[in-house]
Symmetry: C2
Subunit: 183 residues, 2 copies
């Protein structure tokens, strides 16, 4: 059975971060769905409109091996204020399953006390907003159930780390043979 | 006046390569349109559906400072067989303007004699198909009007090189401050 994951899009999401995760996880055979907080195509931070696979309401009670939040400042504000998203994240962590967040999105975890005492990273411009977590300078940080990363330029490393954690190092290396990312 | 660019999507395009180029060029203030060979959302190699900004028919007679072809094996076959695309590429080069191609897409240039005698790079699995150009091992190659690159993992370097060529090194570095790609 393939592992299940979901990435949650909200208007203004960072497009490269979202697409890198979906592309790389699908290359690894992980069943990742693109969910959106609203119906219809969702415009990214720079106006790329992606048609989601499902709405958040359709999948908010499902179990996933991994929930991913892409960055984007507007998107992060919306995700942080959406009770469905915070409920999903809280259950995910309470039940011992993985959460990935990149760029501005790790601040959602921090703000809702979901990263308390953990080491995380995020985009340098968001660091001052972090209150309850320790900030790392690393490009990708794994601490417990949380995997965090910094920016579009670290998104491939982030996606490959998620593959490594879900499917092992060999699978990650196999995927990267075709992708040719610098690790 | 901002520079104008277009990226041409056809079903099966490599999504990360396409989105990296649009994201980075828009961050640099370049007016890049997403054109598609058919109407409606276009599904990528791994099923991400992007809504194009325009159809190819709407813009095929327009002038662009840069035309970009993303990779993807199916997409590359379609682009190579589309007379509108080949006509645009031929005019672009005849009139001394830039073409970017990544992954499988540089083979379109090779096949139609548009890279004759030039140095290009492409995805390692496509190298045997190259007949009329010299293959380089570099991750991004600039030779004359042609900028070519290898894979999703080199797409950010490719996109940043395009910014550097269109808007200068300072602009490229400024964009990469927020993007944090390794150059």
């Amino acid at each position: 059975m393939s592992k299940k994951a979901v990435i949650i899009l909200s208007p203004g999401y960072e497009e490269l971060e979202a697409v890198a995760v979906v592309d790389i996880l699908r290359r690894a055979g992980i069943d990742i769905r693109i969910a959106a907080v609203e119906n219809g195509p969702v415009a990214s931070a720079r106006g790329i409109k992606i048609v989601p696979d499902v709405s958040l309401d359709e999948i908010k009670d499902d179990k996933f091996d991994l929930i991913v939040l892409p960055g984007g400042l507007d998107s992060t504000e919306t995700l942080s204020g959406d009770g469905r998203v915070i409920g999903m994240l809280r259950n995910q962590i309470d039940e011992g399953r993985m959460v990935g967040a990149i760029c501005a999105a790790p601040t959602v975890l921090d703000r809702h006390g979901l990263a308390e005492g953990h080491e995380i990273t995020c985009h340098p411009v968001c660091r001052e907003a972090v209150r309850h977590s320790r900030i790392s300078d690393k490009r990708v940080v794994t601490d417990g159930l949380l995997v965090t990363s910094q920016a579009p330029g670290t998104a491939l490393e982030f996606a490959l780390r998620l593959v490594e954690l879900l499917e092992g190092t060999e699978k990650m290396k196999e995927v990267n043979k075709g992708v040719i990312a610098r690790l």
